[in-house]
Symmetry: C2
Subunit: 220 residues, 2 copies
């Protein structure tokens, strides 16, 4: 679609923002990236997402689309001729949505506990996190991608967490690769795609960010 | 689609199950309804939804679809020729999904606090609940349905809560109709549809159910 104005309100360490960056890159859509300061949100963000006041927000010709997986579906539907992100079969689509929803409901809050809490709460968070990764490794099985042979919605939903693996390992004191080799191999496979490699920050930069979060929470 | 086997694992007071009942009724799909005892879940439910172990589960030709809004989208995609439940415009679809997601993230947990907690926790729940209804009444505005002129996804996501309004009023000690007349008028409008009327239980039966919940939680 020519003459489209596409803007992404985002924050570089956001796993949710990464989903939209990847979807836009897969579809080769040009857009303006606007970095938000989450401790001093812009009037544009508050205007575009008055309900949740959160990034990422995709703005297409002046109209906002909030919530990252809804944004990925929107990108898929508007720019449908290139690089399909969802399978065409309704059952497979439902499965892709189910795993995206599972990641949103379970993984983010649990994973944060590893570096924003201490003691028993951290241990409980780590245990739950490992159980979630076990489920996600089981679902992947021997497939190269979550949807099967092709990179798509399930991969986009999860891959942003991959660049925090290093931080989880440091603060959780365990090896994700040792416990979940297929999951780590999948992450490396996704990183070979340009759309992913250019959308995810370096794991060490993310670790520095997580350190600043821990300072804010008074843990370090 | 002829010769389809459609089964719904459900529990009659579930607002989430009601969504699938309504979608199936709108599409005039014949199905077998199986009532689950949530305090003694069936082997079939545990087999069909091993991740969340929750109802509702739609089973289509032996394959399970879990999470109610994902089920509604699945029904829409498989039986697409009759009674469209989502708008065709991608932006309007994203908006419908946004409000469905908002209801799932905010309304259920908040609304339950009115009858499963007491004291300050109940007061805080009631305050949040009223704020959410204010947002939802604002979004509806002067439109007959959430999607505009036609009954659809946003209505299906919300209407199940309507049959608990009486219980919220009794235990929250306030009048929803006095504060949110458009929302109550919308609920009555939806109830004029066969698909909704036959899928929602009577408000007084729901109140009796809520009383048994309160006994279980030791509040009454």
């Amino acid at each position: 679609m020519a003459n489209d104005e596409v803007i992404l309100l985002d924050s570089w360490p956001s796993m949710f923002g990464m989903r939209l960056r990847i979807a836009l890159a897969e579809k080769e859509i040009k857009y303006e990236y606007k970095e938000e300061d989450l401790w001093n949100k812009s009037p544009l963000l508050l205007q575009m997402n008055p309900i949740h006041k959160k990034i990422p927000v995709l703005i297409h010709n002046g109209k906002p689309i909030c919530e990252s997986l809804i944004g990925v579906e929107y990108i898929e539907e508007v720019w449908k001729d290139k690089a399909p992100l969802l399978p065409s079969d309704p059952y497979e689509r439902a499965q892709a949505r189910f795993w995206g929803d599972y990641i949103d409901k379970k993984l983010y809050d649990t994973s944060r506990k590893i570096y924003t809490t201490t003691g028993d709460e951290q241990e409980a968070g780590k245990k739950d996190f490992i159980e979630i990764l076990r489920v996600l490794e089981g679902v992947l099985g021997e497939k190269p991608y979550y949807g099967g042979d092709n990179f798509g919605f399930g991969d986009i939903a999860l891959i942003g967490f991959y660049c925090r693996f290093h931080a989880y390992e440091i603060y959780g004191n365990f090896s994700i690769e040792a416990e979940f080799p297929k999951l780590v191999a999948w992450g490396k496979r996704c990183m070979q795609r340009d759309s992913v490699a250019k959308s995810l920050p370096d794991q060490h930069k993310v670790l520095e960010f997580v350190k600043t979060l821990r300072h804010k929470f008074g843990i370090e």
